[in-house]
Symmetry: C2
Subunit: 249 residues, 2 copies
Amino acid sequence: MTGGDVTASAVETAFAGALSKSQLAYDYLRDRIALHELSPGYRLVLQSIADELAMSVVPVREAIRRLEAEGLVTYERNVGARVAMVDEHGYVDAMQALGVVEGAATGLSARAISPADLQRATEVNDHLRAVLDHFDPHAFTALNRQFHSVLFESCPNKLLLDMVHRGWAQLSGLRDSTFAFVPGRARDSVAEHAHILDLIAGGADPLEVEIAARNHRWATMQAFLDARADRAGRADRAVPRPTPLRETP
Amino acid sequence: MTGGDVTASAVETAFAGALSKSQLAYDYLRDRIALHELSPGYRLVLQSIADELAMSVVPVREAIRRLEAEGLVTYERNVGARVAMVDEHGYVDAMQALGVVEGAATGLSARAISPADLQRATEVNDHLRAVLDHFDPHAFTALNRQFHSVLFESCPNKLLLDMVHRGWAQLSGLRDSTFAFVPGRARDSVAEHAHILDLIAGGADPLEVEIAARNHRWATMQAFLDARADRAGRADRAVPRPTPLRETP
DNA sequence: TTCTCACGGACCATATACGATTTGAGATAC
DNA sequence: GTATCTCAAATCGTATATGGTCCGTGAGAA
């Protein structure tokens, strides 16, 4: 173009235009869902969101379509979108699937994790152990995520990594995960973390690391199921197990 | 409603209205991509597609957004969409990820597969063995998919199953998979199929079934890599392995 | 009192229109 | 002959407008 004093406006355009409005809406909704500002079941009205973001409904529609494809919102024709409800069955399935992909990603990371990262993961786990006594599910969950991130982010397979991220995003929709529900699980969790770290630090077979990471997550899932079964059992209701869960009998 | 001769039109309306136009566009594009009528890299022009389907561009845009979120098309702002190109690195990653999720789905299916299904899988594999001599990569790939479908479709975890489907859809974008590229792989493949069937029929540990299924896919991936390395090696080019692939050293 | 049905509001689905951006070809200067 | 600049066509991004569907509400009849 014509050079000169247009720089400022050019920069502004570049910044404003860097993200399309539909991308903006997508980020906005995704963040608000992740931060629990929009709780599961919340009705997403296109026009309201468009007003909030000072845009038309068209970009909002596209954003919601993408969120739908990722399983973060459910959509009903001629009715609208709502934040995906993770019912208990869905939660179990999501945890199971996450165990698979996260385990694989961790296994593939194992040989690529730098000593510095390993050190950081150890510190985070120490921190987790430290907060066990004055227990706060919310903080614990956040630290827990941080810990696992270090372990799988080195996975060279971007596709697999993306699946892991989606899994976490889906589950973050739930109340502070299992730890709020089954506080006793936290202590075991920390111990299993230490075991996984030992395996990685000792240069164990990646498959062994993978299975350890997977079983760690599946154990959390199992703790949730057991806790639920207990409550149901006390209420004298027979609740059939939704899916066969453990591969190792 | 009012009975009589409106039935036909009523049915037509019900059928036409059952799928929204954006869903129609989505199915249309997805099918054409899967059938290779739209080859990778093909430029998807919104208006042309809208014209073809006798609709406006808005539903087409939404359909493409969904396909983008699934990784079947790539999108560039202000430029447009094109059918996702699976480059060799992407192919390897996709196969690796598919090995993980398909293996898991197969493992979780193992105990749920009916004898009838197992019988059918055996027949399909016999068919595969039969066509080994007058080899047709395209037919072989189709039968291969049929075989594996029987094994993982019984997976009770819908999420995992969905990941498997997406993986297959992504890879189907490629030319007739590895078998056209490495014909020698087909014979080994059939033998491995038989092994997996034996494991399932024998009531083996699901984890064992899972690892067998995973290694089966990863072996196909490895065959592709080896073939490529051979060609590159003959051309005297040093091609570094893209990712560490085998978990078992 | 309860069930049925018509009515109206809220919202979604799609079409059309206009502005913004990219891209590629042709012209011009070196 | 090559590189750069200019301009126009193609295409996308978004806004606005209109028609259709769903759902809650209230009146009327059994």
